[in-house]
Amino acid sequence: MKTVRVWFRKTGAACYISHLDLTHCMARALHRSRIPLWYTQGFNPRAHMVFALPLPLGMEGARESVDIKIEEEQITMEEVQERLIRSLPATLPVIAVTEPKMKPGKIAWASYRLRLEPEQGSVEELAEKLNALLAQPEIPVDKHTKSGMAHFDLKPYLEELSASQEKETLKLSLFLPAGSEKNISPFLLTEALTAQQEAMFFCRSVRTNLYDADRKIFE
């Protein structure tokens, strides 16, 4: 038995699949692929699956991963990749299968790219509203956590935010704490922009990568 890390993208309509549904979808794809899997030994045998970090609903993922356990003597990593590509819908393409180097628990940061399309006013006005938000002394936000609502200031986390205009969209890229310790969603920023600066826009978002505490890329 050996653990391998399957790297895939979550694109297009697949961004509307919740994390829970993604786990079902992946389990069925594994079953269809007939990859010799290692099953848990309990009363209800299940294939082992660990996703690095769930994506929020509505966000695409450029470099997602799931760890699975295979019976290594029966199959190569290349074959795992080939069979999974055939079993998954086109919106969940497999890009690589590797040996895991880091534990998912080491993940501490994530990078995101957001594209905001104004639904009211021009992109310049939207950019002004963003600047006004960032110029506020603080950006108070609420976040659901396991122990209820947490209230905090988002501003200190936005130091690495960069914004640029491209035609009629405002492109943002940012690094935010991610992982089991502390996880800050970029949607807190877009929600604050709507709530505190009355900006109306449609947002497309992609999580581009995951990193450990030293900003080394998760592998």
Partner: protein, 613 residues
Amino acid sequence: MVPGLEKILLKVQKPGRYVGGELNSVIKDKDAVDIRFAFCFPDIYEVGMSHLGMKILYSCLNRMEGVWCERVFAPWTDMEALMRERDIPLYALESGDPVKDFDIIGFTLQYELSYSNVLNMLDLAGVPLLASERRGLSQLVVAGGPCACNPEPLADFVDLFFLGEGEEMDCELVELYRAHKKKGSSREEFLREAAHIPGVYVPSLYEVKYGEDGTIASVTPHSGAPKKVTKRLMLQMDQSFFPKSFVVPYLEIVHDRAVAEVFRGCIRGCRFCQAGFLYRPLREKSVETVNRQCRSLCETTGYDEISLSSLSTSDYSKLNSLLDELLTWTKEEKTGISLPSLRVDNFSTEVMDKISSVRRSGLTFAPEAGTQRLRDVINKNVTEEELMKTVTTAFSGGWSSVKLYFMIGLPTETLDDVAGIAALGQKVVDAFYANPNKKKGKGVSVTLSASGFVPKAFTPFQWEPQDTIEMLHEKQRHLVSSVTTRKIICNYHDADTSFMEAVFARGDRRLGPVLLEAHRLGCKFDGWNDYFSLARWRQAFEACGVSPEFYANRRRSFDEILPWDHLDYGVSKEFFRRECEKAYAASTTPNCREKCSACGAACFQGGICYENR
């Protein structure tokens, strides 16, 4: 993707319902097809995607050259509000094209309370609701499914109904449509010819007259339509079309598993059960066919659970050999088998051991009535002794929770019969504690679920009045007060919805204006308790001057012309009358395997009627 759709998807619950793109969904080249068929299920995605009939007909129609069948579901109210706000018309999931541009718009009618959704979906699609207001050949609205057996309440809105099983009939209709589209026929020309396809009922070709007492005086066909329309059915189940794959949804649906049909019809003849009569005669598939179909479905979908579906799966004559055959591969592939409809009287340890060898689900039985007298009235043919034997077997096999289904409001029922439900539940609890091998510290849970009886067309109880809402409430209270232990959980269905179901189950064409008014008042998702409002429905009935009690609570005489008398499902009205009279005498009728009772279904020249007994 539909224009503007992605901007609203993140504002609604479960956007995965609205995007399509699932594994095994069928995408065709628009320019290479000449018939577009929108298969509409008048409920949400999770409910519709669980429905086997839709899966069969979707694949069956898409097998046809030049025909593209797509799926459409009712958007939940949050999505509907945004679609209306942003002028996004109802669209089909595969192409994203508006339903109003389709040639044929088909609905499956699984329950009466979905009728308001049929109207709402047509409205959301921008299709005129009334058949008389639709011009030209396209936007042909068709409907099938069990409720098509009394389609009269929908006669104003639907161009034609399919009676019975659709595998052949639907394709014949599509071919006829294609020929008429090529010729440039009018809607009327097409409908007149469609009425000659066996099983197709065109309501506009029948004139209904009413007498002074409000009952039907006559139903007269015109323009060459047949006097009686007889249902279609598949006689050779092994040769009948069955899909090799199912569309596999991303989000979890109600029945998220592979479903294999082991037979159609039912041998039992329970007198309340419409399905038991509509699908006669019993026609089984062979073990080889079912096994092959299960295997193919598991391979193409990746499901790790198979449900062996039918009206009463433990009545399958070769159940043990089928399970043996399935277990040769399911065990190794960690695939579970579930039997959704078990009977109390033929549940065996052997079957139990086989299905529990991989995975185990809860046990559910349906004694339907609490006392032997009443079980005889409804011809359930299950004894208390059999129930006790069965639950004892289950308890000694390690099961500790049992769910029992009952009906209240059955013909001839008294409060003692209702109390009998609680008493039966108590005996099941006692059986658990009487089991010597019971594990220490483990409790038992018995759930008694009571639904209100709804008399239906094509059953021996089709003439019966339904209990009034007040009577049903009294019986519900009596049931709850008769339960004396916390080991029994008791739940019952809402009497208001049972009442409305009864109205439409035996309604006639005068309910058309009521439906239209109810739709205007905002009735939709009536099968969902949080959305159903009896007050709103009453308002619609009042506005139209129609009494719902006339349909639900009135005893009909045996010689009354019933709204569905010009439709024929094989079982004769004389048989239903004989069965009704036997019910009053609490006299039972043997099942089809024991003895033929001459119901009339032998007219189809196949199935169990022609097997050696």
